[in-house]
Amino acid sequence: MPSLIILVPLLGLIILNMPIGNFMRRGAFWFAIALFSAQVLLAVFHHSLAWTGKLPPVDALFKVGFTIDHLTFIMFICIGLVSFSSLLVARHAMGDEGELFKFINLLIIASVGMSGIVMVKDIFSLYIFLEITSIASFILIAFRKDVYGLEGAFKYLVLSAVATILMLTSIALFILVSGDTSFSTIGASLQSGNRVIVMLAIGIFICGLFIKGGVVPFHGWLPDAYMSAPAPVSILLAGIITKAAGIYTLIRITSAVFGFIEPVKAILMLAGTVSILFGAFAALGQNDFKRMLAYSSISQIGYIVLGAGTGTALGIAGAVFHLFNHSVFKSLLFVNASAVEKELKTNDMNRMGGLSYRMPITSATSMVGFLSTCGIPPLSGFWSKLLILIALWQTGHFAYATIAVLASVLTLAYFLMMQRKVFFGKLALGLENVKERGAGIMFVSIALAFITIGAGIFFPVIYNNFLLPIKEILVK
C-alpha cells in the first residue's frame, strides 16, 4: 500500500509524457490535481487503516518497506496542501501551456521525492529522495532562466552538493560501524563503541541536514533561492521542500537513528536559537517582500529545530505542529507575495503602500498569516509556539525559552513593518489601478487562512488525535 504513494505519481508521470497528442498537455493541470488528490487520499486512507491496525499485505515490490506513522501522515498533509497551492498559483502565474506542463512534471517529481523522504527507513534511500527533491528544485528555481533565478539555483546547487557530499561521507562512516544502511541497524550499532567515528558521522550528517534545511549559519543559499524563484516555486520551497528535506529529516533521523543524546540536543537547541534570532534580525532590515519572508522562514525553522532539540514528546509534537503551521502560513504569505508581485511588477516594499484598499482579501489573509507567525492566540501558530515553550520549560532550558519568547516580539516588529509598508497607510503613487488577483489565487489564500484559524480553534482535537501520538517515534 504505501509504495503506491510513490508509484502512482511515477505512473502518472509516464502517462503524462506519453506521445498521445496534445491532449495530455492541455489536461495536465487537471491531471495533476487528480494525481495529488489520489496521493493525499492514499495517505489518509492508509493512515486510517494504520489506526485500526489492519494493514493489508504490503506489496512485494519494495522489500525494504516504509514507515507509516502519525508523523508521516502530517507530512503527507503538508505536502498535499502546499503542492495544491503551488499548482493553483502556477496556473495563473505561468506564461503558457508548455511552461505549465513542464512545471507540473517537475512538481510531481518533487512531490514524489518528498513522499519518499518521509517514508523511507533506509539512510541511503533517504539520500536518493533528498537528491530527487533537490534536483527538481534546482530546475524549478532556474525555470524562467532569468539571471536572478539562475543565480539562486546555482547557489542552491553548490551548497546542496556540499550537503550531499557531507551526507555521503557520513553514510560511509555509518556503514563502517554497522555494515548496513537501514535506520534500525545503524541505530542499534551506535551503542557498540566506535565513539569517535560515530560522533564524527552524526556531526557530519547533521551539518548536511542543516544546509538542506537552511539553519543558521548554513542558510546562505536560502534567501537567494526563495527570492529569485518564480512565485509558485517560492511557495513550494518555503512551504515544504526545505522543511521535508532538512527539518523533518532531522527529526526522523535523530529519533530513529542517533537517539536524543545530550550533545546532539545541545547542538539542535543552540542552532535553533541562533536561527531564530539571526533570521528575525535579518528580516527586520529587508526591503524586498519575498526576501523578508525568506528570513522569516529561517527564524521559524529555528523554532522547529529548537522544539525538536528538547527531545521530549511534547517538544517534538510542538515542532511538528509548528512545521505544519509554518507550511500553511508561509505558503499563504508567499501566495500573497506572488499576488502582489504579479500586480505591481515589483517586490520592493518601499514602493508599495495602502494596498489594503485595493487588495482587501490579500491584505486580510496576510494579516492572519502574520498574526499566526507571531503566535497570537487563538491562531494555530500560538499553540505550536506554546508547546515548544512548555517543552523547553519542562526540560529546564529557561534561557532558550526566554529568548524564544522575546524573539516573538521581533517577529511582530518585522511583520508590523511589512504590513504597514505594504498594506496599510496611504495608497502609494501609481497603484490606483491595482486589482485583486484572480479567483484561483484568492481561493488559495482564503483556504489557507481558514486552515490557520481552524487549526487554532480546534487545537485540542488536533493535539489529542494527531500530535500526541507522534511520541511513538521516540519509542524504539
Binding site: 565513539r195 556531526g203 546562505g220 512548555i390 516580539v409
Partner: protein, 613 residues
C-alpha cells in the same frame, strides 16, 4: 441553574462582535443595535448570576489545562461591573461615533474585548486566563490604531510595552504552574519565597502593566490623544483597572497568600506610592483635557495598588472600593471630555473656557465626578480614599504621606481643569457649543448619580460587593461601612482639600490669565472670601513652591521621556543596527556561505567529539 450558563457572558459579546464585523457598512444603525442588545443581554445575565457560586469545567488542551470558569462573589461583581460599563460605553459611543468610518471596527473590537475581559475574570485556569489576556492585547492594538494619524505608532508602542509585560506574566504563570503542579487558581497556594517571589513579581508586573502603572504607563497619555475617545473612557479608565486590580488581588490574596511582613508588600506599596505622586505631578502640568485625565488614570491606579499592597483589611477593602469608584468617575470624566471634544472640536484647555453654561448637564456631571476623584465628602472617592489612608498609615507614615500629597495635587489639578474648561470667559470659537445628545448624557448622568449614591450609601457596595469578595480570614469580621471612624484622618483630608483650594485660588490670582482665568472667582461667589483672605500672605512661598514643583515636574517629565526613549528609540536603534550588520554580512557570494558552513561544521564536530566521545 445549569453551570454552563457561565459561557454565555463570554459568547454573547464575542458572537455579536463577529456579527458586527460581518454587517455591511451601509446598514446604518444596525451595528449600534446589535452592540446595545448584546451588552444589554450580557448585563442581564451577569445580574442574574449575581450572588451565585458556580463552577464549570471541560477538558481543553491537555496537561491540566482545562476550560474552567468559576463564578464567586468577586468575579461576579467584576463581570457585572464590566457589563454595566460596556453597556454605558456602547450607548455613549452610539452617539459619539455615529458618523465615524471606523465605528464598525470599534464596536467589534469593543465587544470582543468585553468578551475577553469577562472570560479572563471568570477563568479559574491560569492558562485560560492568559489566553483571554493575550487576546485583549490584540483588541487593544486594534482599537488604538483606529484613531487619528499618530495612532498606529501609539498602538505599536502600547502593544510592545503591554506585550513585554505580558511575556513576564506568561513566564510568571509558567513558574507558578511548575511550582504548584496545577494551573487551577483555586487549588494554588504558593509560598512567597525564592522562586515563588520571582513568580509573584513577574505576575504582578503583568497585572499592574495592564492597568498602566508606572513605569509601564507611557502609552496611556499618548493614547489619550490618538485613540478614539470611547476607548479611553472604557479601557484605561475602567475595564483595564478592573481587570488589573482583580488579578492583582487574586494573586496577592488567593494564589500567593501574602502576609504584610513580606518584602513584596513593600514593593507593591512603593510602586503604588510612586505612581500616585509622579503621575499626579505630570497631570498637574498638562494643558490638554484628555491628557490630564489620562495621567490621573495612572495616578489613581496607584491608590489601588497601595491599598492592596498594605495587606491590612482596611487597605484591601479601600483598594477594591477605590477600583470601583475610580472606574465610575474616571470613565464619566472621560465621557465629559468626549462631550467637550464633540462640541468644541478640541480638548486644548487654552481654547476652551466658559462652556459650562452652554453644557450645564455635562458640567454638573463633571463637577460631581471631579469632587469624587478629589475625595470630597460625601462622594464615593472620599470613602475609598479614607480607607486607603487608614491602611497606609497602619503600614508606614511615608505611604500615607504620599497618598495625601497625591490627593492634594489631584484636587488642585481638577480645580484647574474645571476652571479652564468650563468656567471663565466664553471664547468666540466656542459660541456654537450646545449640550450633547441624550445617548451621551445618559451614561454620564447614570455614573454621576452612582458616584453620589456609592458615597452616601456606601454601606451597600461595601457590604454587598467588596467585602464578600475578600475571604473572611483576611477581614477578621470587620466591616468598613459608614462614615470613617478615624476623625483625625478625615480632618487631615479636609485640611488638604481646603489647602488645595487655597493654592488654586492663589495661583489663579497670581497668574491672572491663561488656563486659570482670573474671572472664575466671580462665578463661584461662595468662595471669593477665602480667596481674599489668602491674598494677604504666602505670596513668595507660593512662587517658591511653584518653582520647586516645576523643577520636580520637569524631572518627572524627563524620566518619562527617558522611558519613552528606551521604548521608542533605543530598542529600535539596536535592532536596526543588528539588521544592517546582518545585511552587510550577506555579500551574495556563495563562497562566503560555504566558508560559514565549513566553520560551523568544524565547530559542531569539535563539540561533538569533545562532548560525546
Amino acid at each position: 441553574m445549569s453551570d454552563n450558563i457561565l459561557i454565555l457572558p463570554i459568547l454573547i459579546p464575542l458572537a455579536a462582535g463577529l456579527a458586527i464585523l460581518a454587517t455591511p457598512k451601509k446598514w446604518r444603525g444596525v451595528k449600534e443595535a446589535i452592540a446595545l442588545l448584546a451588552t444589554l443581554a450580557s448585563l442581564g445575565i451577569t445580574l442574574l448570576l449575581f450572588g451565585k457560586s458556580l463552577f464549570y469545567s471541560i477538558p481543553w488542551a491537555g496537561f491540566g489545562i482545562s476550560f474552567s470558569l468559576r463564578l464567586y462573589p468577586f468575579s461576579a461583581f467584576i463581570i457585572a461591573a464590566t457589563a454595566i460599563f460596556g453597556f454605558l460605553t456602547v450607548l455613549y459611543s452610539s452617539s459619539f461615533l455615529f458618523k465615524k468610518d471606523y465605528a464598525k471596527l470599534f464596536y467589534a473590537y469593543l465587544l470582543v474585548s468585553l468578551s475577553f475581559i469577562t472570560g479572563a475574570t471568570l477563568s479559574d485556569n491560569l492558562i485560560l486566563l492568559l489566553f483571554f489576556w493575550e487576546g485583549l492585547l490584540v483588541t487593544l492594538f486594534g482599537m488604538i490604531a483606529l484613531g487619528n494619524k499618530g495612532a498606529f505608532k501609539t498602538a505599536t508602542k502600547a502593544f510592545i510595552i503591554v506585550g513585554l509585560c505580558d511575556v513576564c506574566l506568561m513566564v510568571g504563570i509558567a513558574i507558578a504552574g511548575h511550582m504548584s503542579g496545577t494551573f487551577e487558581m483555586s487549588k494554588m497556594n504558593i509560598p512567597i519565597m525564592g522562586v515563588g517571589g520571582i513568580a509573584f513579581l513577574l505576575m504582578m508586573i503583568g497585572a499592574i502593566a495592564k492597568g498602566g502603572s508606572m513605569p509601564f504607563h507611557s502609552w496611556i497619555p499618548d493614547a489619550a490623544i490618538d485613540a478614539p475617545l470611547p476607548f479611553m473612557a472604557i479601557f484605561p479608565a475602567a475595564l483595564e483597572k478592573l481587570l488589573s486590580i482583580y488579578f492583582l488581588a487574586r494573586i496577592s490574596l488567593d494564589i500567593f497568600k501574602m502576609a504584610p511582613e513580606s518584602w513584596l508588600s513593600y514593593t507593591l506599596m512603593t510602586i503604588g506610592a510612586i505612581t500616585i505622586v509622579f503621575a499626579v505631578m505630570m497631570a498637574l502640568v498638562q494643558k490638554d483635557f484628555k491628557r490630564l485625565l489620562s495621567y490621573h488614570a495612572i495616578s489613581q491606579l496607584g491608590y489601588m495598588i497601595l491599598g492592596i499592597g498594605t495587606l491590612v483589611p482596611a487597605g484591601i477593602v479601600g483598594g477594591l472600593f477605590h477600583m470601583v469608584n475610580n472606574a465610575m468617575y474616571k470613565s464619566c470624566l472621560f465621557m465629559t471630555g468626549g462631550a467637550v471634544e464633540k462640541e468644541a472640536g478640541t480638548t486644548d484647555l487654552a481654547k476652551l473656557g466658559g462652556i459650562g453654561t452652554r453644557m450645564p448637564v455635562t458640567f454638573a456631571c463633571f463637577i460631581i465626578t471631579a469632587l469624587a476623584i478629589s475625595g470630597v465628602p460625601p462622594f464615593n472617592g472620599f470613602f475609598s480614599k479614607e480607607l486607603v489612608y487608614d491602611g497606609a498609615l497602619e503600614r508606614g507614615f511615608i505611604f500615607y504621606l504620599a497618598a495625601v500629597v497625591g490627593s492634594f495635587f489631584t484636587a488642585a489639578s481638577f480645580l484647574k481643569l474645571g476652571h479652564a474648561a468650563f468656567m471663565g470667559k466664553l471664547q468666540e470659537r466656542n459660541r456654537g457649543v450646545r449640550e450633547v445628545a441624550w445617548p451621551m448624557l445618559i451614561p454620564m448622568i447614570v455614573i454621576a448619580l452612582g458616584c453620589i449614591l456609592f458615597g452616601i450609601f456606601n454601606a451597600f457596595p461595601l457590604n454587598h460587593l467588596i467585602q464578600p469578595s475578600i475571604s473572611e480570614t483576611r477581614l477578621h469580621g470587620e466591616s468598613f461601612a459608614g462614615f470613617p471612624t478615624n476623625m483625625t484622618l478625615v480632618i487631615v483630608t479636609v485640611v488638604v482639600l481646603v489647602g488645595a483650594l487655597l493654592n488654586h485660588l492663589y495661583g489663579v490670582k497670581k497668574t491672572g490669565n491663561g488656563l486659570g482665568a482670573v474671572d472664575h472667582i466671580h462665578y463661584a461667589p461662595g468662595l471669593s472670601w477665602i480667596y481674599k483672605k489668602a491674598e494677604k500672605g504666602y505670596l513668595d512661598p507660593y512662587n517658591l513652591w511653584w518653582g520647586i514643583i516645576n523643577v520636580f515636574s520637569a524631572v518627572m517629565s524627563w524620566i518619562d521621556k527617558a522611558i519613552d526613549w528606551l521604548y521608542n528609540d533605543f530598542a529600535t536603534g539596536v535592532a536596526n543596527g543588528l539588521a544592517i550588520t546582518l545585511k552587510k554580512l550577506h555579500t551574495g557570494s556563495y563562497k562566503i556561505y560555504i566558508l560559514w558552513s565549513i566553520a560551523a561544521a568544524i565547530a559542531i564536530l569539535v563539540f561533538l567529539l569533545k562532548a560525546g566521545a
